[in-house]
């Protein structure tokens, strides 16, 4: 799915989607893996702040309309990578380690870049052409932002 960057209106719809709708999940991959990706994205994008509190397994499972055991499995995986911390008496928090979060963000960005470059190469673009296209796209985004203000 493609969301345009930085337009206020679309940002709220995106947030609303996060809050209200049952999460859309792909049919052909394990559900817990998709929950891990989704929550990781929410942490990296700052939807859940560093050190911030996370909803309980049951709350989040109900929001996503998935099985609580599956959500639990996703949380265990996120704990293993250190992104979330479980406190025995106080529920779960996002890690305060902002370097760790930045590292995860870099890793995710690299994955997107790899996909992008392999697709563009498949389409037959050279490196210079890809760079020109990216520059053009950025310019257009800047202009649209300007209009929005």
């Amino acid at each position: 799915m493609y969301y345009k960057l930085n337009t206020a209106e679309q940002k709220t719809t995106f947030t609303e989607r996060m809050m209200q709708m049952a999460w859309e999940l792909d049919a052909d991959r394990p559900i817990y893996a998709q929950l891990v990706e989704r929550i990781r994205m929410q942490i990296v994008s700052g939807y859940y702040q560093p050190g911030g509190k996370l909803p309980s397994v049951r709350e989040l499972a109900a929001t996503a309309a998935v099985n609580p055991n599956t959500m639990q499995k996703a949380f265990v995986e996120l704990e293993r990578t250190g992104l979330i911390i479980t406190q025995r008496t106080n529920g779960r928090n996002v890690t305060e380690d902002e370097e760790l979060i930045a590292g995860v963000k870099q890793g995710m960005a690299r994955e997107h870049m790899e996909v992008f470059f392999s697709k563009m190469k498949e389409l037959g673009f050279t490196k210079e052409e890809i760079r020109a296209l990216v520059d053009g796209e950025i310019m257009q985004n800047v202009q649209e932002e300007g209009k929005g203000l």
Binding site: A22, L25, A27, D28, R29, P30, I31, Y32, R58, A61, A62, A64, A65, V66, N67, P68, N69, T70
Partner: protein
């Protein structure tokens, strides 16, 4: 005592030609939401009725939470039948009275709270409700019990998508983590993401009992798609 349901060599034959459930042996754990899936006539409802003691097995046995199916097991199994047994002329509040009398583990407060959240007035008669709301009321009655096994026969048949989401959330929010929920349906795609495990039945036989993530990992497709492949005509 760790396993919740132990089914051994279970068979139900209505007559020599019609064997609805054929020699099923199956052990179900606690704390899972399990889909009971199969085409029409595969024996799902017959199996469910035996779990609830409404049909007597021809052969084999079922033990639920350490007890053979009977009065003791029925006190711990909450059952949503595929067809309603409630009278439409009763007010919802009267039905609640009946459930309080009948089931020691029924929480009236919980039921009333859920009715409030749906803006359903307990003084209305059941028959005046829409189909979707009737389904919801019946599910609320079942999920307001503190049972160790919930058996839901086709809980989402014929309701709109919003009602379906409500029903799924009600199931997730209300079952206790030591209990297991068995949901029978052929609308697999609709409930797939709340299931831990699935049981496939065909012609009364157990075809498959595995976890949803296993199917997705091994076959790279949804349970719904895999079901269509296994049961292709």
């Amino acid at each position: 005592m760790n396993e919740l349901v132990e089914i051994v060599g279970l068979t139900k034959a209505y007559d020599a030609k019609h064997v609805a459930v054929n020699n099923i042996t199956l052990t179900l754990p606690r704390g899972k939401i399990i889909g009971l899936l199969g085409p029409n006539g595969s024996g799902k409802t017959t199996l469910i009725k035996m779990l609830n003691g409404l049909l007597t097995p021809t052969q084999g046995s079922i033990i639920i939470n350490g007890k053979y199916v009977g009065v003791d097991s029925k006190a711990q199994v909450a059952y949503l039948p595929d067809r309603t047994y409630l009278s439409g002329n009763q007010k919802i509040s009267e039905i609640l009275d009946c459930f309080v009398d009948f089931y020691a583990d029924f929480s009236r407060e919980k039921a009333e709270e859920m009715l409030r959240s749906l803006n359903i007035d307990p003084s209305t008669k059941l028959k005046t409700l829409s189909k979707g709301n009737k389904e919801k009321v019946q599910l609320i009655l079942v999920m307001s019990r503190n049972a160790c096994l919930y058996v839901l026969d086709e809980p989402i048949a014929g309701v709109d998508p919003a009602a379906r989401d409500y029903i799924l959330r009600t199931i997730i929010n209300n079952y206790n983590p030591d209990a297991t929920v068995i949901i029978s349906t052929h609308l697999i795609g609709d409930i797939e993401q709340i299931l831990d495990e699935v049981i496939f039945m065909r012609y009364g036989h157990l075809v498959l009992y595995t976890s949803v993530d296993n199917i997705r990992e091994q076959h790279g497709k949804s349970v719904d798609a895999y079901f269509r492949e296994v049961f292709a005509c």
